[in-house]
């Protein structure tokens, strides 16, 4: 073979190897997003399971707060539906937003419930309530950190897929930009909760 042919062949081979490696790296990062999403799902399930316990314990004392408790229970059902709908659509904007909204609503109501709990000394003194509060704080943190980890994974993936020259490979094989979970999508949620005494 001519030397020129050899050079071209070597270049083509190097290009193919680079494309292969880039493709694999992108796939790895995309799978990491899926894994990070599964993590959030696990944590949301945890909260989902915790709510009945919480409502039951709080309900012993909060006869007059029945509305809050029922709202919590309803928000829980809504969050469950949104999680079912979002499963398998990790990183897709619409599903992520619906899930964010449903979980945001449940989180907000749980926050309100804990504020209500603060107002009832007997309930606050209840040992089981203290345990449940700890479990709830723990679960909320797990959710928040799982979201953070998910967003970090999305950031890594988007950076890898959109930076040159990897964006050529990403465009060729249809690696679309993934959507992050936004903590709030309504103006009302951005407002700090007002507490009246």
């Amino acid at each position: 073979m001519e030397p020129l042919q050899l050079v071209i062949l070597a270049l083509a081979l190097a290009l193919a190897i680079w494309a292969l490696l880039t493709y694999n790296a992108l796939v790895r990062r995309r799978n990491e997003i899926g894994n990070a999403f599964a993590q959030i799902d696990v944590q949301l399930k945890r909260r989902f399971d915790l709510v009945p316990n919480l409502v039951e314990t709080a309900g012993r004392y909060l006869q007059h707060e029945r509305e809050t408790l029922e709202a919590v229970a309803q928000a829980r059902a809504g969050a469950g539906r949104a999680a079912d709908a979002a499963r398998g659509h990790a990183g897709e904007r619409q599903a992520m937003q619906a899930l964010s909204a449903a979980d945001g609503a449940l989180g907000q109501l749980l926050g309100r419930l804990m504020v209500v709990v603060e107002a009832y000394p007997a309930l606050k003194a209840d040992a089981r309530m203290a345990e449940l509060s700890e479990e709830l704080a723990h679960t909320e943190n797990r959710i928040a950190f799982a979201r953070q980890a998910f967003n970090d994974a999305v950031l890594d993936y988007n950076n890898a897929a959109q930076q040159a020259p990897a964006n050529l490979v990403a465009g060729l094989f249809g690696f679309r930009a993934a959507a992050m979970l936004e903590a709030t999508d309504q103006a009302a949620q951005r407002e700090a909760p007002r507490v009246r005494f």
Partner: protein
């Protein structure tokens, strides 16, 4: 984002220091050779040729001492985190004590943020100071040990900051790096030890023939050991800054770790550290693993040899300005705490929850007790408690420092506004 820059900063400085460490070993070999050549000249008549392979043997012996010492020490430290933790007097955190349960929870949630396998949570029950360390060689046998004082004196957010700091050490491989460095320093020390041995007078009181050689080894060994210690401490200080930045990255807030460090810097935190049982050699050799140094060295080289930067400097880097220390009283865990640690006894749940009937609520068909948590014996007294509480509508002043775990986690301080009773520096 500031924490990323801090992390890169600490990383590049650590790299430079590791190179310096390698150069120290090379320099030690050179100095030992030089000193031995000098000793040879001084002890033997001028003109005597060096024996064959003189320098090669010297180099080999020094390297064998250093690397052999490193190997022996590393093997000891490689036994796993649980061994080290037990050695320090710790025990596994109990799941049924609320405070320790909280620690287990915090370790798990911080590990999610760090995207790591959670280490096993251990407690040092005898230690009243605010401190924590991690140990372990592989991810699976890593443990995080937290003192009782930290559990009692820190809020949940602060405990989270401390745990995140330790996870920052793990995430950047600091435990392994430090164990290697300890081994190397130990190896450097062995050269000094051989020199001391060679200089010891014989039984007849006469100095042995190897005195000059011994002195040469001793001096160069000492210089090497000192350089090693200084570099080890300098590297450790950079790793602390690095772990602080990582803690902020994992928790996305400064006030958790910041509050803990401010409490460590406060008078109560310092007193607790001083009163804590004097750390024996085992704890001292773990000093680089702690979040704050367990003992304040008293001699002049202390600041150079200390493995931790001053807490004030760490706080300044965290907040970007000088902040004052905080008092660190023991926080009430729950109303039951004074009677002794509250335990979640495994008892039968009441058959019929009074109050709300769960069937009324739109729950799907899942069980209400999906997260197993039995009610405490106090539950049986609940209506009575309600009555007493209603009668004396809390005329007693409420302890404002007591914090039951709650959600959402309200910030302890409003940025820019100092709560009354706390002065800002």
């Amino acid at each position: 984002l500031r924490f990323r820059r801090h992390r890169e900063d600490a990383d590049s400085r650590t790299g430079a220091l590791m190179v310096a460490f390698a150069l120290t070993v090379v320099a030690l070999v050179a100095v030992v050779n030089l000193a031995l050549a000098l000793a040879w000249r001084l002890t033997l008549p001028i003109g005597t040729a060096y024996p064959s392979l003189f320098f090669e043997t010297n180099t080999l012996v020094v390297l064998m001492l250093v690397l052999g010492g490193w190997w022996v020490e590393s093997r000891r430290l490689r036994q796993g985190g649980a061994v080290v933790a037990r050695w320090a007097g710790a025990r596994v955190a109990a799941d049924d004590i609320l405070r320790e349960r909280r620690l287990v929870n915090v370790v798990q949630e911080a590990s999610i943020a760090a995207r790591r396998l959670p280490p096993e949570a251990w407690v040092l029950p005898e230690d009243d100071s605010i401190n924590a360390f991690v140990a372990g060689w592989r991810d699976e046998d890593t443990v995080i040990v937290v003192t009782r004082g930290a559990l009692a004196r820190l809020t949940r957010a602060e405990l989270q900051g401390v745990v995140a700091h330790e996870l920052g050490h793990l995430a950047s491989g600091d435990t392994q790096r430090h164990m290697r460095l300890i081994g190397l320093v130990w190896g450097l020390q062995m050269v000094h030890g051989l020199g001391v041995r060679l200089m010891q007078p014989g039984e007849d009181g006469k100095r042995p023939a190897g005195t000059w050689i011994g002195l040469a080894l001793r001096l160069s060994g000492y210089a090497g050991w000192l350089a090693g210690r200084l570099l080890q401490a300098a590297i450790a200080r950079q790793r602390e800054f690095h772990a602080d930045a990582a803690a902020v990255q994992f928790t996305r807030q400064v006030d958790g770790l910041g509050g803990a460090l401010r409490k460590i810097a406060g008078p109560q935190g310092r007193a607790a550290t001083r009163d804590a049982s004097a750390p024996d050699a085992s704890l001292a050799c773990l000093s680089h693993l702690w979040i704050a140094e367990p003992r304040h060295a008293r001699w002049s080289l202390a600041s150079l040899l200390s493995t931790h930067p001053p807490v004030a400097e760490r706080l300044r880097r965290l907040y970007g300005r000088t902040v004052s220390a905080l008092p660190a009283p023991e926080l009430a865990e729950s109303p039951e705490w004074p009677d002794g640690p509250h335990r979640m006894d495994q008892q039968d749940r009441p058959d019929r929850p009074y109050g709300l009937d769960l069937a009324d609520l739109p729950f799907p068909s899942d069980r209400a007790d999906a997260i197993p948590m039995a009610p405490s014996p106090r539950q049986a007294m609940a209506p009575q408690t309600l009555a007493t509480d209603a009668k004396d509508a809390s005329p007693t002043p409420r302890d404002t420092t007591s914090r039951s775990p709650r959600w959402p986690p309200w910030p302890d301080t409003v940025p820019g506004v100092d709560p009354p009773g706390r002065e800002t520096g």
